[in-house]
């Protein structure tokens, strides 16, 4: 189990890392924290290298390292790492590595299950590439949910990563201490995968679970109830008791409305084709964009059951 958490140094990202750290601890996962540094044009690269050398001669970290150091401290606080970061923190970044990625070593950093990585370039591209190269099972991103221009993880970056990633994605916004899960199902195979993953996560966090199935109109209410029952059975097999709920209306709207009383929404990735998604939008992305709580979109990686602990 490998988690990739992304930070841009903003408070939202820090909250996401704290949450992700707790999850990783419960699921016994390997964690990498990634910061994507702003791209710089190739003609200034030589000077930037000179700047980095100068920074290290001043005993100053290269840009972005402080965000990763902070992330590491948060992971220490939640108890993911065994050896806390020493007070005297000197970092050394190693250039090169996998396709321009930089691995960061902090003196006094313990716990081999946490790695810190720096990349440079377009955030979406770099996150996706890191996720692919590193073979991660879950990407965790903080998001403000808005579309401000201030922080680059807000809004569009998170949504684009969620849309394009090959693995499961958790967009963490407005994280609360309670973890009432809302498991959305439509009875499809993909939804079933999401149910298993969501249940696993709920067990780790000791959360309550509600299963929601949405019927697009009254005539399909019975069908929706069947889907919810099936999910309930799967959860029961995993030893989790769940409440059932059926709503009628447009799926994304109904899920967003129901999510108000819950802390995390779990759903399968949209099975629609790219063309369908373009014209109709994807339900998970809409929930992610307009919903008020964290959203986990579960995707199956080939040959792997998603998000199983251990």
């Amino acid at each position: 189990m490998k988690f990739l958490m992304c930070t841009d140094g903003e408070e939202l990202a820090e909250a996401a890392i704290r949450f992700g750290g707790r999850l990783a601890k419960g699921m016994n996962a390997d964690v990498s924290v990634l910061h994507v540094r702003r791209p710089i044009s190739s003609s200034e690269r030589v000077q930037l290298t000179a700047t980095r050398k100068k920074l290290s001669s001043w005993d100053l970290d290269i840009p972005g390292v402080d965000y990763l150091t902070r992330a590491r401290e948060i992971l220490d606080e939640v108890g993911l790492t065994q050896v806390p970061l020493s007070k005297e923190k000197h970092s050394r970044a190693f250039e090169g590595g996998v396709q321009g990625a930089t691995e960061l070593y902090l003196v006094g950093a313990g716990g081999e299950n946490v790695r810190l990585r720096l990349r440079e370039g377009d955030p979406v591209e770099q996150i996706l590439e890191e996720a692919q190269v590193g073979g991660y099972d879950l990407i965790i991103l903080g998001s403000g949910g808005g579309r401000g221009i201030g922080s680059y993880f807000v809004g569009s970056t998170a949504l684009r990563v969620a849309d394009l990633a090959a693995c499961s994605v958790l967009i963490a916004k407005n994280i609360r201490q309670d973890h009432n899960f809302l498991l959305c199902t439509d009875g499809s195979d993909l939804a079933e995968k999401a149910e298993i993953a969501g249940a696993e996560m709920a067990r780790v966090l000791g959360a309550k679970v509600t299963v929601l199935s949405v019927a697009e109109d009254e005539s399909r209410r019975e069908e929706a109830l069947q889907s919810a029952r099936r999910a309930e059975m799967i959860l029961a097999q995993m030893g989790i008791e769940a409440k059932l709920k059926v709503r009628v209306g447009p799926p994304s709207q109904e899920i967003i409305a129901e999510a108000k009383d819950h802390d995390i929404v779990v759903m399968g990735a949209s099975g629609s084709s790219a063309v369908r998604k373009f014209f109709l939008g994807s339900v998970p992305l809409k929930v992610m964009e307009y919903g008020a709580c964290p959203v986990l979109i579960v995707r199956e990686k080939r040959g792997k059951i998603p998000l199983q602990a251990g």
Binding site: G9, R37, R38, I40, S41, S42, S43, E44, R45, V46, Q47, L48, T49, A50, T51, K54, L55, S57, W58, D59, L60, P63, G64, D66, D122, E125, I149, G150
Partner: protein
Amino acid sequence: MSELLKRKWIFIGLAVGFVMLMIPVPEGLTPVGMKALALVVVAFIFFMTEPVPLPGVALFIAVSQVLLGLEKPTGVAQSFMSDSVFFIMGSLMIAAAIVKQNLDKRIALAIVRLTGPRIERIVLGLVSVSAVIASFIGEHTVSAMMLPVGVALIKFTSDDRKKVKNLSILLMLSIAYGAMIAAIGTPSGGARNAIMLAYWKELFGLNLTYFQWVVAAYPIILLEIPFVAYVLYRSFSPEVKDLSPAISALRAKVEEEGKLTRQDWVTIGIFLITVVMWMTISDQIGLGITALIGVLLFMVAGVVRWEDLNNNVNWGTILVYGGAISLGIMMKQSGVAEWIAKSFLTWVEPIGIHQGVPLLAAMSLMTVVLSSFMSSGATVGMLGPITLQIASLSGTSIVQAGFVTVISTSFVYLTSVASPACNIIYGGGYLNRTDFLKAGWKLVLVSFLLLLLISAGYWRMLGI
């Protein structure tokens, strides 16, 4: 995906060029001129969209000139490596030699010794010192040297970025804008200056010396420094007004270094000798050869090894400037520059901006817009032959037109990408893109007005 999108501009550019070769030649242009124009347009598209790195565009220019039959191979090679290009290369090497020494810490200490701990005075100090150094060795180098100074002052003030957000922006922009306004101060301040010198000489037989350049351009920097410091200080009111703790920390850091070493003194000495040679004998032996003498002295004195130069000089830049100059010479020789200039003049005559200060204002505006979208070197390279030709045809001073074109490329305060200094500072991660806008628009206005005043007053007084 975005790679593919970028590549599409190769095909669009080439298609435009191909169509231009097919359509009838417009009046006033020869068939050879049309070929040259097609190449100019394609190069322009490539410089703007960068479907391949800029040095690749330079190679494309060289190859196309020969393949289109516009110039013989040796002719292209000659225009790629003139004394001006030597000058650019030598200046970059000297800058690399200086950056290698750890003079940045001493400079930092010297600044705060002069200014004391009050932030408004430190801002003025940072802007002035960045400007003065950048006016001799270029804005790239200064931002690389001074960024750590700024970061150190921020970090020594507070480890929590959020508490010193405005202070960070203020210090970073002081360095970037200080370096940016000064690159035009002397010929060695920026490679684009060397392009303009080359155009004056190659296209109009006009020899401007290093010293004459300084006399004409330096006052602009001196006038801009207080404006930049004031506007920045007003736009980003810092959280901390007194940096005493940071200054003590900085002092301690520099004391670890001990006294100036022999090598430091040698570096400073050779650099000063080079500047004096530029001022005095470079009009006989060429700016480029003078620069190379400086580089040789650095190597002989053991201040730099070839490996240092090899790793710390951006060789691609030299190629880009070579390409730009080569293109400019071709524009003049093929009659393209004259044709564009004439068309422009017939077009603007009815609105009355066809000569004098109004014309210079229009040129400045055009330059600012263009250099916001492509590198300043490419802007001067493409626009230079045209603005000089326009000035020549309309009876406006060629020297003034040239200066306006070069100086206006420094007015790109608005984006992080348009100037190397801003790009490097932005890479430091203390700024958002929008921070550049906040103070930038005021500085564009101030600089623009200042340039027109200088041109109508000071330059006229100098008789250039």
